[in-house]
Each structure stands twice: as structure tokens, then as C-alpha cells.
Amino acid sequence: MRSGIRDSMGVRVGKGVNYALLTVVALICLLPFVHMIAKSFSGAVAVSAGKVTFWPQDPTLNTYRYVLQDGLFFSSFRNSVIITGCGTLIALAITTMAAYPLSKQHFRGRKVILLLYVFTMLFYGGMVAIYVFMRTLNLLNTLVCQIIPLVLSQYNLFVMKTFFEGLPEAIEESAHIDGAGHIRTLVSIVLPLALPSLATIGLFYAVGYWNSYYHAMLFVTRPDAKPLQMYLYELITKTQNLFEVDPVIAAGLSSSGMQAAAIVVSTMPILLVYPFLQRYFVKGLTIGSVKG
């Protein structure tokens, strides 16, 4: 912002260098994505020949037409939205409910429970065990089996616990004095203060769910129960054989163009969520809430 006082030469040079550096960093982040978008809208021949840089050559929607070809894209998209939406809500609820009591020093058995969480961070039951578990519960080929494995991240639990520990004791004490119980204190006092943390961790969970395909690969054999990432991943791995699969469609496609379109399609939704959550990434809600 401009002020009445003129910046000194040193400050101006410093600012110039900062702007230049930040612009370079921003471009480094942005250009690969622009390149991807350009490729995804370019004709197969131009992409194959490496003629596409930052602007589509021989523009076409062929790649998108193929990626979005049939009901499978939309069912996968729907599945991913449900998994991400429900999964994030459930994960946030469980993480909060686990982290809040564990943040209390006077909670008996706290250390043992924490140790158990750390134990599961280090040792994993293995994929056969979890497969048999899901099968026994009759959850294979459902969306639940894709939600459960990621429903609690110990890392996020510890972040949340640390946040709760940082809240001034006095705020909760004042709620208790006013007659609030533990649940009321958590819901009405602590959670509103924890919104930035919830938003951040919620975003971690959402990105995790949106990008996950490993569990779907283990548990899902019905194409209409697959998440978007798995659909796109398999689509890409098969593009080498596309001529065998469908020589008619394959005629206008290149594998790198396909990959670019798949990346754009899968990244776009989660990218669009970021700006709406950004305002929660403002810390300092607790500043000034305790007086005296």
C-alpha cells in the first residue's frame, strides 16, 4: 500500500526482488498446470509431436469427450463426492471427539490411549487383514469400505489435540461456571473457536479422500462403485492399448493428452474448494477472548 513517506532505495530494491522472486515461484507452480490444460485441449498429432506449450494447438474436445465418455465417469464422480463429503464429516466428528478428551490432562488412561494411537502409526495390520475384515462385514463394493480406512488419521488427531491444549483453560472454566457440561462446552464454546483448525484438518481429510484409490483397488470390483481417481487412473494405464480397446475413438487421442485431461478433471473440483476454505485459515480468533 502507498503511504505518504517515500520508501528508501534499499526498501524499493528489496520489494522489487521480492516481487520478482515471488512471481518466479508463482509461475513455477502455475505453468505446469497451464501446460496440462493446453495439452488436454490440443489435437492428438500436436501433442504427440510435442508442439504444445502453453496454448492449445489444433483445439479439440476429443480427450474430454473420451474421459467423460460414459456413465462410469459420472458414477465415479458421484462416488468420490459422497466419499469425500461424508468421509470428511465423519472423520472430523471422530477426530474431534477423540482429540478433545485426550487434550485434558486430568483424563485417566490418557497416556495409554495415546500410546495405542502411536502404535497404530508404526504398525499396520496389512492388506489381507483389512480385506478379510471388510468382507466379513459385507462391505466390499460399497462406499463405506472406502470411507472407513481413512476415517481417523493419527497425525490429524495429534494436531487437533495440540490445538485444544493451547486453548486457554479459563474459557472452558467460565463455561462450566455458567453451568455447561462437557458436550455443551465442546459444541458451543470450543468448536467455534476451533473453526480454523477444523477447516484445515477438514481440508486434509477432504484432499485425502478425494485422492485415495488404494482402498478402492483392494475392495472394489464393481466398476460403478469405483471412485473418480481409480476410474481415471485405470483409464490412463489402458491408453497404451486404446487401439485394441477401441480403434475408432483412439484415432483422435494421444496418451499424454489423455493424461492431461484426466489430471485437469480430477484436480479441478478440489482446487475450486480451496478459495472457499481459505478465509478460515486466519488464526487469531482467540486473541483477546480472555481479559484480565
Binding site: 509431436a49 460414459d70 461424508c86 462406499l143 483392494l218 483412439a250
Partner: protein
């Protein structure tokens, strides 16, 4: 707030737990079929509907993932997943067989499989038997075809007045001439093949296992292979092969050839991505297919592929094995088979006076593009001709198929191990030995290893499983 959260969570659980199973129709049981990955929805495809219409069976189709398919399959079967039919690759079949997870089919076939036993040749069944017991229904390659060759750009050959090479020496001359005229161009772009069969013909061997004095010998052990390697080294040192050969992959090869940066290419089949992409990119240009090269004795030949493609089997955990066999048998009834594989005559395909099948596009593709995925096997008495309709869906793939097979009558040679069942000792070592040879060839070509030390490599190869494989395959060959 509390109620709302509880409601949301409950709703979330409910929505996400919705089962994806459909209810069975009529009194016939619903069959569960698991197949390998293909990018289509098998439950929502015209062929699936045609099969249900003709057989009366409602079928739920499942697919293995594109990656780690074998691990996924083993996990599912070992935990008791109850599929009625598995349509899988040969390696997967052998794995399940070795775990005793498959149902013997002989009694069921005798009772319900009249089509399955008469329309699939006995010779094919030898590939899926273990100790005389049938565990799988074989699906061979649709038609015995030549599946690879070298394509060259005709406009450059015409411009430089080059004639078709017929020997390794002539091939080198052609490539040298192109190199001289177009120094920036890759004279010969090679694929990931272990041996380039068009060239290996020029040194007198055509297969992995070649018959020498009544015994099968792997090419690695043949003195001709050493000459072949020395020839490739010579091409590489003269700049006639792609300098990036060791790091090329399918995508980079496609990009190099389809962008016109290479003169010739080792085409890997009628659906080869690089060749097809080239034809689509340069519609006004022409490719020529060189015949297998003649060796010093004036002989030439190239492998005609007729190996096992897929196997259909029934796991021990299947709930409806009898219906599974009845269902597959019904699919081979003459009218049903034609309808579900290529559709209706004069609606989806045509047959001319000479018996040549051709698709009616685009409807053929719309209704039967994925038909191959649903086949458990095919009527071996007639499908080879019907299948040609699939090779003629676009001009590009049709041209490649015809190009590769243009002189099949003159050069095609049947592989002596085509009808060899999977032998445990060979199968166990195949991947390791294959990687070993692949790495060795690259190391020799780029100069890390010398072809003079080939005998040391042969010893290493024999110790790493080559000898065991050789003994096993010769044991079969003698008693076949």
C-alpha cells in the same frame, strides 16, 4: 446442532452403504462373473444385454483392477469370494491352479457342455489340463496371425530410391542411406521386444524355443543369437538405432514415430499404438512392411502366433457351477454366438461372396466394441474368419493387419511350443529370465557388456533357471 450432526452422520452412513447389487430375475440364478480390467462398464453394455436376452441368465460382472490384478484376485479367492466364473489371463489361472482353488470341469462339461467340448478343439484343452484333469476353458488367439514386423516410410524410400531390404546387410545399407540423407532422423526405432523377429529371421531363428536336431533350444544358447547381437551392436554404433533406446517407453516411441522423427519402426501388432498414430497423423503417406530377412542359407520365416489368450474357470467357492457351464455352453450355440460376438448380419456386419467379414460402421462399434470381453471362448471352427470384422473397424488397424500378414503364406512358421501347456518350471522362471535377457541385450547394445563374453551370460542364464526350463520343455516336447 447435535441432532443435525447425528442425522447427517446417519444419513452419510446410509447413503454410502447402499449396495450395488441388483436383484436376480426369473428362477435362473444370477451369475457372478469376474474379468480382467477394461475401460467400460460391463454391466451397462449392449453385449451384456444381448447375452442376457439370448441366454436368459442375469449376470453381474465384476472387474479386477488395472494394477496389481493378480494380488487382488488371489486375495479375493483365498478369502472365499464366491464368483461363478473367472475370465482371467494364463498366469492368473496357473496361480489359482497351484493353490487348488479351481473346480475340476470334466464331469460338468460331459453333462452340460456339448458345445464347449465340440466347438473348442481338443488341442486347446491340452493347455488348461493338469494331470489329465480340465480346470479351465481355453480361449486361444482368435486367428493364427503374424503379430509383428518392421514398417518403413515409403515416401523416403521412394525419394532415396531404396529397394526393400531382404537380408541383414541390405537392411543396414537402407538405414545408412537414410541416416546420410536425414541425419536428425532415427533410422530404426525399436520397441521393447526381446528379439526383433524380422531381423532374427536373417540369422536363422524365429522363436524363443527353436528346434535343433529334435531338441528345443532357447535362442540365447544358439550361436546365431550371438551373430544377431553383434549385428544390433553394429547398427547402434553406426547411429542407426535410437540413441535413447534404453530409456524409451511406449509413450516416447509413439511420440517419436507419430511425429515423423523416425524412418522405420518395429511394429508390435495390428493395434500397435505408434504405427496407428503415425497412419492417423499422416493420412497422405504410406508405410511398407518388410518381409522377414533371409539368412545366409537363403531361408526366412516369422512366427505365427496362436497361443492361449485367456482362460475361463470356475472357483471352488462358486455357488452355481452347473449353471455357469450351462450359461457358457449356451453362449456357443451357433445363432447366439454370432449375435453376441459380431451382431446381426447386414445390420452390424456383412459377408461378401468370398466369405470376408466386414463391420458396418459405426453401429458395429457401438453395439459390439467390447464383445471380446464377454467371450469365455469361441467357436474355433468359424470365429477366425468372423473376427476379421474387428480388424477392419478403421482403415489404420485394417491396413496394419493386412500389411503384417501380406506374405503369411510364404513366411509364417508355427511355433513349436504353441501347444505346450504351462509348465511349472518354465512359468516360474519366465519372468526372471525374460528380464535378464532384456537387460543384457540393452547392456550389450550400448556397450556396457561385450558380445564376446556371451558364453558367460549363457552360463549365468542357465544357472538362473534356464537349464531347469530347458529340461522341462524338452521333457514335454519328447512326450507330446
Amino acid at each position: 446442532m447435535k441432532r443435525l450432526s447425528a442425522l447427517l452422520v446417519a444419513l452419510a452412513m446410509l447413503v454410502s452403504a447402499l449396495p450395488f447389487a441388483a436383484a436376480a430375475a426369473d428362477d435362473l440364478p444370477t451369475l457372478k462373473v469376474l474379468g480382467t480390467y477394461n475401460p467400460h462398464d460391463p454391466n451397462d453394455d449392449p453385449t451384456a444385454r444381448a447375452i442376457e436376452e439370448k441366454t436368459g441368465y442375469h449376470v453381474e460382472y465384476y472387474m479386477l483392477p488395472a494394477e496389481n490384478a493378480l494380488e487382488n484376485l488371489l486375495m479375493q479367492i483365498s478369502s472365499g469370494e464366491s464368483y461363478d466364473i473367472l475370465r482371467i489371463g494364463e498366469t492368473m489361472y496357473q496361480e489359482l491352479l497351484s493353490r487348488n482353488a479351481l473346480l475340476p470341469l470334466d464331469d460338468l462339461l460331459a453333462q452340460y457342455g456339448s458345445n464347449l467340448t465340440t466347438k473348442i478343439f481338443e488341442s486347446a484343452y491340452t493347455l488348461t489340463r493338469l494331470d489329465g484333469v480340465t480346470y479351465g476353458i481355453p480361449m486361444m488367439a482368435e486367428r493364427a496371425s503374424i503379430s509383428n514386423g518392421i514398417v518403413m516410410r515409403k515416401e523416403i524410400m521412394d525419394e532415396l530410391k531404396l529397394s526393400m531390404p531382404t537380408t541383414p546387410a541390405e537392411l543396414k545399407e537402407v538405414l545408412l542411406a537414410v541416416k546420410a540423407a536425414y541425419p536428425e532422423m532415427i533410422p530404426l526405432l525399436t520397441g521393447s521386444e526381446e528379439i526383433i523377429e524380422t531381423i532374427s529371421s536373417g540369422f536363422g531363428f524365429y522363436f524363443d524355443w527353436n528346434e535343433v536336431n529334435g531338441e528345443l533350444v532357447h535362442y540365447v544358447e544358439m550361436p546365431e543369437y550371438k551373430e544377431y547381437l553383434a549385428y544390433l551392436v553394429d547398427l547402434y554404433q553406426n547411429g542407426l538405432l535410437d540413441p535413447d533406446l534404453p530409456i524409451n517407453n511406449a509413450t516416447t516411441r509413439t511420440e517419436k514415430f507419430s511425429s515423423g522423427n523416425a524412418f522405420s519402426y518395429t511394429c508390435g501388432g495390428w493395434t500397435d499404438a505408434a504405427t496407428t498414430a503415425y497412419i492417423n497423423a499422416f493420412e497422405d503417406r504410406e508405410l511398407v512392411y518388410i518381409d522377414p530377412l533371409y539368412d545366409a542359407n537363403g531361408k526366412a520365416g516369422i512366427k505365427r502366433q496362436q497361443a492361449l489368450n485367456n482362460v475361463t474357470c470356475i472357483p471352488r467357492t462358486a455357488e452355481h457351477p452347473e449353471d455357469a457351464v450351462k450359461f457358457m455352453n449356451r453362449k456357443l450355440d451357433e445363432d447366439v454366438f454370432t449375435y453376441i460376438t459380431i451382431g446381426e448380419k447386414d445390420v452390424h456386419f456383412t459377408v461378401d461372396e468370398e466369405g470376408r467379414y466386414a463391420p458396418i460402421m459405426p453401429i458395429f462399434n457401438e453395439v459390439r466394441n467390447n464383445a471380446w470381453w464377454y467371450l469365455n471362448s469361441f467357436d474355433m471352427t468359424c470365429y477366425g474368419d468372423m473376427w476379421m470384422a474387428r480388424t477392419r473397424r478403421t482403415k489404420a488397424v485394417g491396413d496394419i493387419y493386412d500389411g503384417l500378414n501380406q506374405h503369411a503364406a510364404q513366411f509364417a512358421v508355427d511355433n513349436p511350443t504353441d501347444l505346450c501347456p504351462t509348465l511349472k518350471d518354465v512359468a516360474e522362471n519366465k519372468a526372471t529370465l525374460g528380464t535378464m535377457v532384456h537387460d543384457y541385450v540393452l547392456q550389450v547394445i550400448v556397450g556396457v557388456k561385450s558380445v564376446e563374453d556371451h558364453d558367460a551370460f549363457v552360463r549365468e542364464w542357465l544357472e538362473a533357471g534356464g537349464q531347469v526350463s530347458k529340461d522341462a520343455i524338452n521333457e514335454w516336447y519328447k512326450n507330446r
